[in-house]
């Protein structure tokens, strides 16, 4: 923790005189330091700071030290726009915005209208990019649809799942994205059938009526595709299991982490796609090394896989800047769009002039068995999800 604060202190002090000039390279974080998005933004930002510290320790970017400026969005859209403007006024060359598309968009729009690159920390909607914010906006994570498609195809191929049930929490675009990917994949799986579907709301105190519908099926489905996120996810999972439904549950990455497992003791037959493992069993030893470093800097283990995109973000951006030889927006965007299967610590990354997002990605499959999560497999969907299907 001390080290991180030291880095932060050093970089913010340097940025005291707030003028954009060619002598400095400034990354502006317009992210949530308070409010509920803070839980998502903070870890990813810490990971980004680790990559920045690594680059600075290795001599900097284009021979200059990367500086950092911050502004708090307070998990509020209007404040987000102000935070975006604030870091831009402090000379940011690239604006990092909140994890979620809805909360990051105001700051990203501010960057876009100032002609700057914006990077969403971990947004998983296609609109966090060209299709929504504009041509200079990127996301460091993978589309939610890829998660749904990955789980469907993997369960079909590796777990012989044939009957699927789709349970959607209509609260956010992220949830819908997972189910959209699942819907895209289903027709491609011969003799897989959707035996039923239902919706609920994240804040519903009880999903008893939805569970009754599952239980009145002639037989339990092989797999339930559960498109939801915290905090409603825990409640839904707990109620499904309490009702005696033992089908395998497929999820998006939003439920990754062991911090909530105490709520559903001895959870089994539960599967989550992740970009990297926080459980110390990642097939890539460098990820485990990163986890150790994260703990050293912040004082705690990464609590979910959403820590990782922050690291990837600085990594790919810095590479593009290095290749372009400048931080000038159009040159860096052009270099980013040339990346095809660019290796990163957490799987290859591709950006094109059509999509600033991942529509196909390698995912590790984490199975929770008797309350213990661990990596059991990895899977990459057989074909990228076409942009046209993502826009539906």
């Amino acid at each position: 923790m001390k080290r991180l604060t030291a880095i932060l202190a050093a970089t913010t002090c340097l940025s005291g005189a707030a003028f954009a000039d060619d002598e400095r390279i400034v990354v502006g974080f317009a992210t949530a330091e308070t409010g509920f998005m803070q839980a998502y933004d903070k870890p990813a930002q810490d990971a980004a700071m680790i990559r920045i510290a690594e680059i600075n320790a290795a001599g900097g970017l284009l021979g200059k030290q990367i500086e950092v400026v911050n502004a708090d969005t307070k998990t509020d859209r209007a404040e987000g726009a102000k935070a975006g403007l604030s870091v831009i006024d402090q000379g940011a060359d690239m604006v990092v915005v909140s994890c979620d598309y809805d909360f990051g968009a105001p700051a990203a729009l501010a960057a876009e209208s100032s002609g700057l690159i914006s990077f969403f920390l971990c947004a998983e909607s296609i609109k966090a990019g060209i299709q929504g914010v504009g041509p200079n906006s990127f996301s460091a994570s993978v589309l939610a649809a890829v998660q749904g498609a990955t789980m469907a195809e993997w369960a079909y191929n590796k777990k012989e799942a044939r009957t699927f049930y789709r349970l959607l929490d209509t609260w956010t675009e992220y949830n819908k994205g997972i189910c959209d990917g699942f819907d895209w994949m289903m027709p491609q799986l011969a003799d897989a059938t959707l035996v039923g579907e239902d919706t609920f709301l994240n804040e519903d105190a009880s999903i008893a009526a939805q569970i009754t519908r599952i239980k009145s099926l002639p037989e339990e489905p092989d797999a339930i595709m559960l498109c939801t996120m915290m905090p409603g996810a825990v409640s839904a999972i707990k109620q499904l299991r309490a009702a005696g439904i033992n089908s395998m549950i497929l999820n998006g990455s939003g439920v990754d982490g062991s911090y909530w497992l105490s709520a559903v003791p001895d959870l089994s037959n539960f599967f989550v796609p992740v970009q990297g493992s926080i459980y110390g069993d990642d097939p890539n030893p460098d990820v485990t090394a990163f986890n150790a470093k994260f703990k050293e800097v912040t004082g705690g283990d990464p609590s979910t896989q959403y820590t990782y995109p922050g690291y990837v973000m600085i990594d790919v951006w810095a590479k593009a800047v290095e290749r372009a030889g400048t931080t000038e927006t159009s040159a860096v965007v052009a270099e980013l769009e040339k990346m095809n299967g660019e290796p990163t610590l957490f799987g290859p990354r591709t950006f094109t002039s059509e999509l600033h997002h991942q529509n196909q990605a390698r995912y590790l499959i984490v199975e929770t068995n008797a309350g213990k999560p661990g990596v059991v497999d990895e899977w990459t969907i057989s074909a990228p999800i076409p942009v046209a299907d993502l826009m539906k």
Partner: protein, 304 residues
Amino acid sequence: MAPIMQVVFDALSLGSLYALGALGIALIFGVMRLVNFAHGDVIAFCVFALLWPSVDAVAIIFAGNLPWFLLIPFTLAVGAGLSVLSEVVVFRRFRRANPATMMIASFALGFVIRYFLLMLFSSRPKSISLLPGLSQPVELLGARIPLLQLITILVTIAVLIGLTAFLRRTRFGLEMRAAAENFTMARMLGVRANRVIMGAFALSGALAAAIALILGSQTGTANIMMGASVMLMAFIATVIGGMGSLAGAVIAGFALGAIATVMQVILPPDARAFRDAFVYGAVILVLIFRPQGLLAARGTKERV
């Protein structure tokens, strides 16, 4: 089609939550015309009281590990205590204020409680395994329902019977009913206003704690916003039940639970996402036809 009994249990268990919430709001409204928007935050506070303050992702369980016979009284005491405290510190000064002012004051108080929790626990939802023995299914009348659902219904019925007995058979209950009927008159006849109001707050807080326990064990999550949706429904139930009528609040609470459950069952998949729009549409209809609520609060009528 879902078996009828199953749907009945689903509706009853959801309705129980709303009914308990509505009772908590109606009790206070009855004695001091206050629509207490802090009620939902009292619910959240009760759940967080079982955790040790920390901003880490993993919750540090504190009182949550107590055996049930200590855990339940502890939580009820926390709820009652916080509620009485809010009366003594804040609402006492608003006795003569108009309803809008009191309402905004209660909202501001809820805001303070919520951000106090946020400061101690961060905004991240915490997981908590509360009364884990209740998360198993039981067979009943041909329906297989989670034990907790059954207990929720039974607890609500027990609370209703207990509260009825309390209000009918004890002097305190009599005073409270008199105060709810006509506060000024009751006061002139020797009802000690402060005591009655504090009693109402204590009961209301204990009801909030009961909801907290049920929600906590059902969802396994402590979340600073967790009381909000129950409170809104409870608030609506209180109004369509007839503000101040305890029986009306309970009936309306069960009715709302039933409407929400039945809508989920009968609406086609495409329309299910609009479930809440239908529920609120039904609320408007009830209000148009019975603006005084199902059971009007004034006049001669039975209270719970």
